[in-house]
Amino acid sequence: MAKITIDGKPMEVADGTNVLEACLSNSVHLEHFCYHPYLPVAGNCRTCMVEIEGPKGPMLTIGCNTKVAEGMVIHTDTPKAKTAQKSALEMLLLDHPLDCPVCDKAGECKLQNQYMEYGLYDFRRGVPRYFKGGKAEDIGEHVMLDQERCVLCTRCIRFVDEIPKSSELGIVSRGHESKITIFPDVRLDNAYSGNVTDICPVGALTLKEFRFKQRVWFLKKAESVCHGCARGCNITVEHNRGRIYRFMPRENAELNKTWICDEGRFSFNYFQENRLEEVRLGHATSNLSDGIAQLANLLKDLSPDDVAGIASPTGALEDLYVMKKLFEKRFRLKNLAAPFWGKPGDEDKILKLADKTPNTQGLNLLGFDTEGKDLLSRIEKGEFKVVLIAHNNPFGQDEERAKKVFAKVKALIVLSVHKTKTVEAGSMAFPVRTFIEKNGTFVNATSRLQRFRQAVEPENPDIVEASLWMVRLAKALGATGFDFEDSPSVFNAMAKEVGALQGLTFNKIPATGKVLDLKPLAAEPFPGVKAQPNVSGKAKV
């Protein structure tokens, strides 16, 4: 620990912290621009200028690249420091085009915010602006580069060097002509390329998928968790008028830092395309009440042994819990399993995992049979008249096997988000909500219980959460103990029953998640990268 003084206030900070982090950690506002808490310090924007007292009197220096030392006296608000900060900003804006109205970053642009906070000077340039040229350069599968807007903070270069370690970007030329570009014959095509657009403080790097789609100030945000793989990266779902426009990574120092892979980032369209919109009874469409009533009629005449259930690791914890409870109370718990049908996907050492379902660990938590071989063979033998498939898509993933397994089943009840092959094979299909449209929890591969919140409400009221669908079915069948109104109430009931969740309620789950006492299915992400930044959540990411 080092004892330092900032603006006359003595304080104590950890060794190895830099001055900028020391300021931010102690609620001293210091503007900063190229600094990123999860990237190495470059110190090239010069906006975090502070005065540090030395043998020759106070000296101007940048805060981010100066480590604190015992007895250091720092000034951030002297006229000299303020002038230096303002001049650095003016320098950055010198050749920056003021095309904010057409720039997609406007509204979340650091330069824009910085100017409104610290700048507010009159334009002083007397000579014509230097045009770097190079607007809308296509530099990668997902990324467009605008040279004119670039302020050479090198955040993107540091990112590709540090996280994917692919190093596609660099600076060429010198002086005011220097610019960021891809190396010849290389394209910014690594699996994490989308992150450079997030960390770009200006509108130089933009995503093709989001470019010109929506202005950021229209977007409403909901905290969520990525559905793409068992890692469960934290994301923000950004939507407007019922439509999702992008997934943005949400800072979680213990999990994904501020990064997500492109696969997860661009999965948002998957959840609003090819959706199952109506209740299907055979070939006819119906509404939810009629569908439930008809299904309840069908099930009433059967013995509890005639019904099997196939759950899925794509369902939320609440869905799985209510389904388990339904089979426990009304049917036979041994006839419920969650077999995995798909093939494992690609994985890497950073974030991506081979298991492309978000909640396999959740199945383990609730004690589901994730293999389900016994159940499938019994289905194949024709022991069951009705099979309830929730979220799972056997026909879509392994059609031949599925056809063989479900050949003797009389009624296949399917709960599905999409119009899958299973929906077509089923005799009844009910639309259910995706994780974007409901509240719920997932448990990721490293046993982290994480909460996601509802972003949009589906237009069709017949599209309900799978858990609430089960509740309605249970009530229609006359089962008791299903007095749940919404997902949080399901979770709260579940937390009382499941040992690992003891003491939790839906709203008490920390924003970064809670690690449960379960055997992890995968290693922690980012091997060899500094686990914790010195200042988290306080720096402008």
Binding site: P128, R129, F131, K135, R211, F212, R215
Partner: protein, 181 residues
């Protein structure tokens, strides 16, 4: 309590005869003058006759064009942001000219929602939207026909309705394709 006597409520006036006759005389005067001089009636026979609107009338919207006929609008959506009625719906697309960058692929104004506040005109940094077409009869038979599309909004001669009428605008771009004239 003070009782206030109404004037002219006493004597022969109580029978109203005088007042009635005076009134009848007045109205008959109107009848005679209007019968013999119908041209003096102030009525404007509207669809056939139209009154000239004042120069600064806030009329129907139009989208201004560049010299090559493409829209001046860059789909920055500041008008849609400023619009209190949320009647402007813009869908942007990539412009073939990288200096312009953005173009409206769709620019719809829902005239049924528009409240004619003119905020969109004030918000526009490029003077791309104006409300100066002197037309007050915005009417249609269907709701769809009252959603004005880009093509309709750009269907004009691009001239100033009022010559030399240049409202003061902030200087945002001193150089480049968007530079203020």
């Amino acid at each position: 309590m003070k009782v206030v006597q109404r004037p002219g409520n006493k004597g022969p006036f109580k029978t109203y005869v005088v007042a009635v006759l005076k009134g009848l005389w007045l109205t008959m005067g109107h009848v005679v003058s209007n019968l013999f001089h119908p041209e003096k009636l102030p009525t404007v026979f509207f669809p056939e006759e139209k009154k000239a609107l004042p120069p600064a009338t806030r009329g129907r919207h139009r989208l201004m064009k560049r010299e090559d006929g493409s829209p001046r609008c860059t789909a920055c959506m500041l008008c849609a942001t400023a619009c209190p009625a949320e009647c402007i719906h813009i869908l942007a697309e990539e412009s073939p000219n990288p200096d312009i960058e953005k173009l409206p692929a769709k620019f719809d104004i829902d005239m049924l929602r528009c409240v004619y506040c003119g905020f969109c005109v004030d918000a526009c940094p490029l003077d791309a939207i104006r409300m100066d077409i002197p037309e007050v009869t915005v009417a249609g038979y269907t709701r769809d026909s009252l959603v004005y599309h880009k093509e309709f909004l750009m269907d004009h001669d691009n001239k100033d309705v009022v010559p030399d009428y240049n409202p003061p605008r902030p200087v945002l771009w001193t150089h480049g394709p968007h530079a203020n004239p």
